[in-house]
Symmetry: C2
Subunit: 421 residues, 2 copies
């Protein structure tokens, strides 16, 4: 269960209501026209999941349970969402498999990660929507050479999976070399793809409860399109209206396990909303990700006393289902902090969360709080959809193309020139 | 060796030069008056290091080399700097010891971290400048109970080290219970304390080359106070002058190993500069930390096409000393990316760095580039001092107290009330 509390003055008058209605229709149209595909990923995920389960029974390594290390080779949208879900749910998942992520072409990072992998028990999942991402293909080539995997060996190719657009270069390579492939719908962009094969396949191969993740996501997207999530649209409207005064959006999550989820949000938000709008203005909102209580000891100072240019969303987990307590131990000279003795760490963390939230509100900083009753696959599925829909809605109010990324391409052109001139 | 290249128009006219001169004098005065102590940490670190080496020979577990897991219990300034240096240098350090960090009171995070630790080979370093940080003392109590450590056992207390201000509650507790303590100079704030006992002790216990780290730091601070680092002051001047137009400072580092270093910078920058100035205005600059090439696939879009409200610092490592290459493997259908074949990953990553930097400059976004010839303890020491001095200099131009954190205290008061009302 998720709860949404808003402590900002959204001033939802007649004009706002009309604007919100228009935005909602536009999102409905995006969905029904089939132009934007992520809305339907939860629903379509169930049959994909069946396909993965079938694959587990036919792949010679998987059916004998020989695979322990699942190595995801992908960057940006091809890794961040999966990493986020993996970190959140791995402790509550019964699995003998670990996921590893090769994202960066940093040679120290590649070496460090590969040290942890046992080649003989590893499966490699190469993920590139376009099929020719330079980081991904380069690391894949390196893996092929390092582990002496041959395209000519049917057995070797049973340890490689490709996830890519149908018809891409990587897709054709897979086709020709008997590599199992799963496809990303063409109408789903990388940063919106976590509930496509991109996330579903690695997570399902590692026995994560993808079914519940999809259920939670589907419940939220249905609820939204049934018109029951007005607060999301009000928040999006507010954010777009105050974008000049509040150009920075802080996500302050009270659990270390959300570290990568927060990063996933940053990617989604930054790349989707930082655009030139249809009359040529640069628009966008700058996302910041913080973890409580750690970042209370640093960034909170800037939020409270620095320029009032930030909105803050606090994410709180009500019940961590981990009843460890601060012992009733009275330490000499430290009686000042004895008030916490006997309380759960859960209670302390949430009291810190509440104290921070109240302090922020006292300073008239626009804030809202999302509460998860607990960390479950369903709740994480819903939260993913919440943020994707929020991003789309703000994009509608900004009147931009939320789904492209022309700015990123400039750098790519320069890169190719450096090697081919 | 570090190189600093600025691609912004700092317009250093007569007025600017005077202002810079004034700021430089003020920083000199801060140092010589003994009011602010971090300037002298590198120099004083060598004798501290000797003390640690002596301690290694007297502690019953250390001298027998029985300790493999060094567990740092600390939050914010008491952990982030150490974590940063640890991650950067651990691969090049000959050690049989690992550092672990218990920062957050998140019960899932505590449980996850403690699963990796073997009690019998562990040493616990409790770090709190004030001596009564609620997160740190609570986790310490939990450790005491979980591992059945007794204050009455001299042997148990040989496995605990306290790092705190002289005279703090934790200091008195250590004194009474025969716990070895190292002190943080009273004139050094938490976020400026990485080169005090806070960082030196855990890193030296794990056999890191702290000597070279200190040397690099000392070289830089001396060079600065000899007046040889004018570019730093020019950058600080520029940042303070354009703070309204460019309220956000992005650090875009091209190496995954800098992940925690970047976070350390964010803490330092946000908590030091987000202040109310002497005429009552909220000032401050908002730091963002990015890792290349990963974040090219996300945040770069916002930098390039979003609002022009950001300055960017690119950090580049010239030589990763890891000659792994993209194999000369021509993959069917993927000939488009064959241009990279045979090149080092080092070359690819740096070409991506250059391409990003050039793209940013093309868009007239104020940018500068810091180049490290390689990741060495000396260079990291210098870079730490560079950022600390830059922070102090911007604080001077803002006319704020760079070293306090009143905003953080508001939340603390609320927290205590929740438990003691």
């Amino acid at each position: 269960m998720l709860d949404f509390e808003h402590k900002f003055d959204a001033k939802i008058g007649k004009k706002a209501k009309e604007s919100i209605k228009k935005s909602f229709s536009a999102l409905q149209k995006e969905r029904s026209s089939g132009k934007i595909g992520y809305y339907n990923l939860p629903e379509n995920g169930f049959s994909l999941l069946e396909e993965v389960e079938k694959y587990k029974k036919t792949n010679e390594y998987l059916k004998e349970n020989l695979i322990k290390d699942i190595v995801v080779i992908g960057i940006g949208g091809s890794s961040l969402g999966t990493k986020a879900v993996y970190e959140l749910l791995k402790d509550q998942t019964k699995t003998d498999k670990k996921l590893y992520f090769l994202e960066n072409v940093d040679p120290l990072d590649i070496t460090r990660t590969l040290k942890k992998i046992n080649k003989n028990r590893a499966m490699f999942i190469v993920i590139s929507k376009s099929g020719s991402t330079i980081e991904t293909t380069s690391i894949f080539k390196y893996i092929m050479e390092k582990y002496k995997l041959s395209f000519k060996s049917k057995s070797d190719m049973q340890r490689v999976v490709a996830i890519t657009d149908n018809g891409s270069a990587l897709s054709m390579l897979a086709e020709k070399n008997s590599i199992k492939q799963f496809n990303i719908p063409l109408n789903v962009g990388g940063r919106f793809s976590v509930l496509s094969a991109v996330g579903i396949v690695p997570l399902a191969l590692a026995n994560f409860d993808v079914n519940s993740l999809l259920k939670g996501a589907m419940a939220y997207v249905n609820s939204f399109f049934e018109g029951k999530e007005n607060r999301l649209l009000e928040k999006a409207y507010f954010y777009s209206k105050v974008a000049k005064q509040y150009p920075i959006n802080v996500m302050f999550t009270y659990s270390t396990l959300f570290t990568y989820f927060n990063q996933w949000y940053v990617q989604l938000w930054a790349e989707s909303l930082g655009k030139i709008d249809k009359i040529g203005n640069s628009v966008g909102l700058t996302p910041i990700h913080l973890i409580g209580s750690v970042d209370q000891h640093s960034f909170l100072q800037l939020i409270i006393q620095g320029p009032k240019n930030k909105t803050v969303t606090v994410i709180k987990i009500e019940d961590f289902k981990k009843p460890i307590k601060v012992p009733k131990l009275n330490l000499d000279f430290l009686d000042k902090v004895d008030y916490i003795n006997g309380h759960k760490f859960n209670t302390l963390l949430n009291a810190e969360c509440d104290a921070t939230y109240e302090t922020i509100i006292d300073e008239n900083i626009p804030a809202d709080c999302i509460t998860l009753d607990k960390i479950t696959p369903e709740n994480i599925g819903s939260l993913i959809l919440y943020y994707e829909l929020l991003t789309s809605a703000v994009g509608q109010f900004f009147e931009i193309n939320t789904y492209d990324q022309p700015g990123v391409e400039f750098g790519k052109v320069k890169l190719v020139k450096k090697f081919t001139k």
